[in-house]
């Protein structure tokens, strides 16, 4: 595999070409002499570990950032893309990794943003065009809804619609599938195919190799800022899915992993009824908030060493369940027992101390304090407790010592213990959170989407750690929207809908169909 520009087949010129594009940030080279050719009618998949530089590359294409070196050619002419506005004018539309809609505005208002400021927003025209595009592509969104009331999947559709309304010639999708249900992912894949057939160029970033193989015409792999390989459409067509995956794994990790790396052996262990549950929840209820679902009558039990999965469409109360268990959210009824001891009425810190741990899915939003050093972030849930604090005084030596141990044990890649945690990549932040929740006497751990946004290596490592802690005798509650993950990890899977558990199945051979039936509202 060569990283030089591949030979161009006649009749398909590059729409956008990157030539030796380099981007440096303080202390880091995010992109290092990357060459890339993006063509009309093609879905170009970008793969790479967390922090490989994919989003940075997109940032330069969409005018958010300027390359430190190298140049970008649009339609064959070198074009510095100076601003997002310029990028839009060039026909480059982007759906960013992080949502870029104004939550307090309606869908229509968001779509209208960017018009000439002295004009009245052309709502009528928008309506007609949105309807037309929606019809041809099978997208339907309520233009009058306020964005903050939409689900993440719906918001994503709004962003795609916005890119298309702008007559984009190049559509960039940065990890757009990470928040979608399996069905949503298939729909998006089909949409990408249709758009490519209509002559658009598409850049699609994902961490899921199967998606890359299924939807991509061309695949490029980034590693530590460099492009380490590319699979051309011709080759792609000639390989089967397994071969493609194997080849990508080799490019990304240098070694051939055995078989499908995401296909882990299923744990089908039996837990005798006699073993007392470690985590037992009975009739848990939480009142609904504004825009968040409540919980009602949630009961389950997890035995030591068992992994119980919670499946369901995002936003059906999974987060509320996790927060209620962790003590972040006040329950209005029901009991939570850890090893027979009632947790009700205890605060977050007390529950954490007793071994009830919660690994949040919102790593930067609530899991960490981005501007604080790595070392302190390990102990945020233990503030004030010895040996890290004595008589309320911070014991810097003890903290640094223990943090150093955890950094080594969990393979956290950080320049130093003093580095603000916000500067680390998502995978490394996740390792720190895992270390924090596992350390010192975890007995029951609640995971909320533990592998969301992680690259393959980090995903596998995280899953292994979850299995390890279960093997070590802890009770694990694994909340995930990724059915494959649940099927690969759990002993039993419960399905959550509208704030209640609608059924639980053992993870046996027919689990996939039974969970699937529960999720679409049928009896297992």
């Amino acid at each position: 595999m060569t990283s030089a520009s591949p030979p161009r087949p006649a009749g398909k010129p590059d729409l956008v070409t990157l030539e030796r594009v380099t981007k440096r940030f303080p202390g880091i080279v995010a992109n290092n002499a990357v060459d890339l050719s993006i063509r009309a009618g093609e879905v170009h998949v970008l793969l790479g570990e967390n922090g490989a530089g994919k989003s940075t590359l997109i940032g330069m294409l969409s005018g958010l950032q300027q390359p430190t070196e190298g140049r970008i050619l649009v339609g064959g002419t070198p074009t510095p893309i100076t601003s997002p506005r310029h990028a839009l004018a060039l026909g480059i539309g982007t759906v960013f990794q992080h949502m870029m809609l104004v939550p307090t505005l309606t869908v229509a208002e968001n779509l209208l943003l960017g018009g000439s400021w002295w004009r009245r927003p052309k709502a009528g025209e928008l309506q007609a065009r949105a309807a037309e595009i929606g019809r041809t592509l099978g997208i339907s969104v309520d233009l009058g809804a306020r964005v903050e009331d939409l689900s993440l999947g719906e918001q994503q559709q709004v962003e795609i619609l916005r890119a298309l309304l702008r007559d984009s010639r190049l559509l960039i999708l940065d990890e757009s599938t990470s928040m979608l249900t399996p069905k949503g992912i298939d729909d998006l894949g089909a949409l990408m195919r249709r758009l490519a057939e209509n002559g658009l160029a598409i850049v699609f970033i994902t961490h899921k190799l199967k998606e890359a193989a299924a939807f991509g015409d061309r695949i490029s792999v980034l590693k530590l800022g460099r492009k380490v390989g590319e699979i051309t459409p011709e080759r792609l067509r000639s390989l089967g899915e397994d071969e493609i995956v194997a080849e990508i794994v080799e490019m990304m990790f240098g070694a051939r992993a055995g078989g499908d790396p995401e296909e882990a052996q299923r744990t089908a262990r039996a837990f005798p009824e006699a073993v007392a549950p470690l985590l037992e929840v009975r009739d848990l209820a939480v009142p609904a908030g504004s825009g968040t679902p409540g919980l009602s009558g949630v009961s389950f039990a997890v035995r030591p060493g068992e992994i119980l999965g919670i499946a369901g469409i995002d936003g059906n109360g999974q987060k509320q369940l996790a927060e209620a268990l962790a003590g972040q959210l006040a329950a209005s009824g029901g009991t939570i027992r850890l090893a027979g001891e009632a947790m009700d009425g205890l605060g977050v810190g007390e529950r954490h101390r007793k071994g009830l741990r919660y690994l949040t899915d919102d790593r930067l939003g609530e899991g960490t304090v981005g501007s604080f050093p790595v070392s302190i972030n390990f102990f945020l849930k233990q503030i004030g407790t010895p040996p890290f604090w004595r008589n309320g005084i911070e014991q810097t030596a003890a903290i640094d010592k223990r943090a150093g141990e955890l950094v080594r044990a969990y393979d956290v890649r950080t320049p130093s213990l003093e580095t603000p945690i916000g500067r680390l990549s998502g995978g490394n932040i996740q390792k720190i959170l895992i270390a924090r929740e596992f350390a010192d006497g975890a007995r029951a751990v609640i995971f909320n989407k533990p592998t969301y946004g992680l690259d393959l290596a980090n995903t596998l490592a995280t899953r292994q750690r979850i299995r390890d802690i279960a093997t070590g005798g802890a009770a694990v509650l694994l909340i995930s929207t990724d059915l494959e993950e649940l099927l690969g990890m759990c002993d039993r899977i419960s399905v959550m809908a509208s704030g209640a558990l609608v059924g639980t199945v053992d993870n046996a051979a027919d689990a996939r169909t039974r969970v699937g039936r529960l999720m679409i509202g049928l009896a297992a």
Binding site: L105, G115, W117
Partner: protein, 311 residues
């Protein structure tokens, strides 16, 4: 001998309430736009006093109140331009710069006044009043509400212009986006810095105009520190109004009415210590805050400088 609460007196009280409310209204409307766009404009007091000074100088030397208003607004814009450069473009701390500008402008105008006017204390002639036909003849309310300088009606009309701008125009969308999620506005192809700069300059213009009104119509004279915290009251009104211009108007009027009420009570000879009476307007605002100040009212990015692509 006329009764104490004669028509004329009540009319004058209401008239005074409106005169006192207009500078607050203008400052509040201005601040509201900055806040909508995500800039906490603490320098508004400085913009007001700058506008008061230059507005007075212009009106005094030209003899035209309108020139005074124009120059007042320009002075406000000039101070706001400095604020926009430092806080919006360079992203310096909005509170440091805001307080700095306020202190500096207060000192500078007092200094200039000392060298220029502290021997002569020039005063302007009475501001011309525009009577609204028919309405002006309603007893009590007529003289109180419909016999003001034209700028008063314009200021009140501005409330409705602002409602239109915020609700119905592209600029309104842009401003709200700049305050709630500037990155989203940026990737939609609108320059956040420019949007916020426009908002800050508008704030400056309104504050300057408010200052000029205060000096030229409200007092007819400029003296040092004449604004006396009116800008800070504007900030409070803007925050209370939660993005709705009508509330700024109501708040300003309420405040003006409270001021007039204190005068009325005194003239009526009610022997309550004036210091107690004079807490009334502030108490009224505080009560409003306790009653209506629910959560979630301010733009998410308020006070946070925007830098494209920053992490």
């Amino acid at each position: 001998m006329t009764g104490l609460f004669s028509e004329v007196f009540l009319g004058a009280l209401l008239f005074g309430a409106i005169t006192a409310a207009i500078p607050l209204l203008l400052a509040g409307l201005g601040e509201q736009m900055s806040e909508k766009a995500g800039v906490l404009n603490i320098g508004i007091e400085g913009m007001m006093i700058g506008g008061a000074y230059l507005g007075f100088v212009a009106a005094f030397y030209s003899g035209s109140l309108w020139l005074g208003f124009l120059f007042g607004a320009c002075a406000g814009i000039a101070v706001a331009a400095l604020m926009a450069l430092l806080c919006v473009r360079l992203g310096l701390n909005q509170i440091v710069i805001g307080i700095g500008l306020t202190l500096g402008l207060e000192g500078l105008t007092a200094l200039l006044h000392h060298f220029q006017f502290s021997r002569s204390y020039p005063r302007l002639p009475a501001a011309e009043r525009t009577e609204i036909p028919l309405l002006a003849d309603i007893p009590v309310l007529g003289p109180a509400l419909f016999r003001h300088h034209l700028i008063v009606y314009l200021a009140i009309a501005l409330v409705f212009v602002m409602i239109y701008v915020y609700r119905r125009t592209q600029l309104g969308l842009n401003l709200q986006a700049a305050g709630d999620k500037p990155a989203a506005l940026d990737v939609a192809g609108v320059d956040v810095i420019r949007t916020r700069t426009v908002a800050v300059l508008f704030t400056g213009a309104m504050a300057g105009l408010g200052g000029a009104y205060l000096a030229n119509v409200g007092a007819g004279i400029f003296i040092p520190f004449i604004t006396n915290g009116a800008g800070f009251l504007g900030i409070v009104l803007a925050m209370l109004a939660r993005g709705r211009p009508v509330w700024v108007l109501l708040g300003a009027l309420l405040f003006g009415l409270c001021l007039s009420l204190t005068t009325a009570m005194q003239v009526a000879g009610i022997n309550i210590p004036t210091d107690v009476i004079q807490m009334l307007p502030f108490l009224a605002v505080m009560v409003m805050l306790v009653a209506f100040g629910r959560r979630g009212s301010l733009p998410a990015a308020l006070g946070i400088p925007y830098e494209r692509g920053a992490r």
